[in-house]
Symmetry: C2
Subunit: 123 residues, 2 copies
DNA sequence: CAGAATCCCCCACGATACTG
DNA sequence: CAGTATCGTGGGGGATTCTG
């Protein structure tokens, strides 16, 4: 039984912290995002994320797998073939990532028109 | 059946990547989350995030500030006082973080009852 | 093709001390 | 109180090579 953590934010044990431990790596969110509705092979993922070395990609995939966020389907054939897809748990994150994606695009757009917004926190 | 799409996501230049560059640090999301609807002083943030050293906290705050995600309000008095709050841009992230928070809590709960879900990716 | 193994460098980050 | 400055270290992560 847990110590009571009824505070939603005040705790470092908040859901956000937990979530970021699972998808907060440098590439994990992007991996999940790209796997969104597809199965992808190792090489395909690598091509989609060119800045991720195979070592890091492997590592991230392993962690996601043992975290039960992705499924690794291996085909014993020659040449080898492995397909990655999301678990249902991970899929629950897609809406979040979608919004984040929108937010990102909006920011990019605002940047490009030199819009320096902000200033008011207007409590 | 996967090859199909000129998937929108294929770009590493996607919004998710961009967004994670801004809030994807190790602590940034948690900082934003905790600032959600309040102003917090430096020390308060530090206490809320005990695992974050002052150095890292300072650094993260500086980056968030120059990224125009937080506002740093300084009071020239003795002893010094600084209050941090979110910009409106950052506030747009709160709903998503809420979603993420919920997801996290759900996962924690599922873990604690030993629920090993998953298996089907069923595209 | 999908990784594992190895080598190695660099800097992210903690610890500590100091300051306005 | 809210930071800066400095130092030292671990390990994150790239490049390369090898294998089933």
């Amino acid at each position: 039984m847990k110590k009571k953590t009824e505070i939603n934010q005040q705790c470092s044990r908040c859901g956000v912290e937990y979530a970021f431990k699972r998808i907060g790596g440098k590439y994990k969110a992007r991996i999940i995002w790209n796997l969104g509705n597809t199965e992808l092979r190792f090489g395909e993922l690598g091509r989609i994320l060119p800045d991720v070395s195979t070592k890091m990609l492997t590592q991230a995939l392993r962690e996601l797998e043992s975290d039960q966020l992705i499924i690794r389907k291996m085909y014993y054939e020659v040449p080898p073939k492995v397909e990655y897809s999301l678990t249902v748990t991970a899929r629950q994150l897609i809406p979040f990532l979608e919004h984040l994606n929108d937010w990102g695009h909006t920011q990019i757009k605002n940047e490009s028109i030199g819009k320096t917004n902000e200033g008011s926190s207007s409590n």
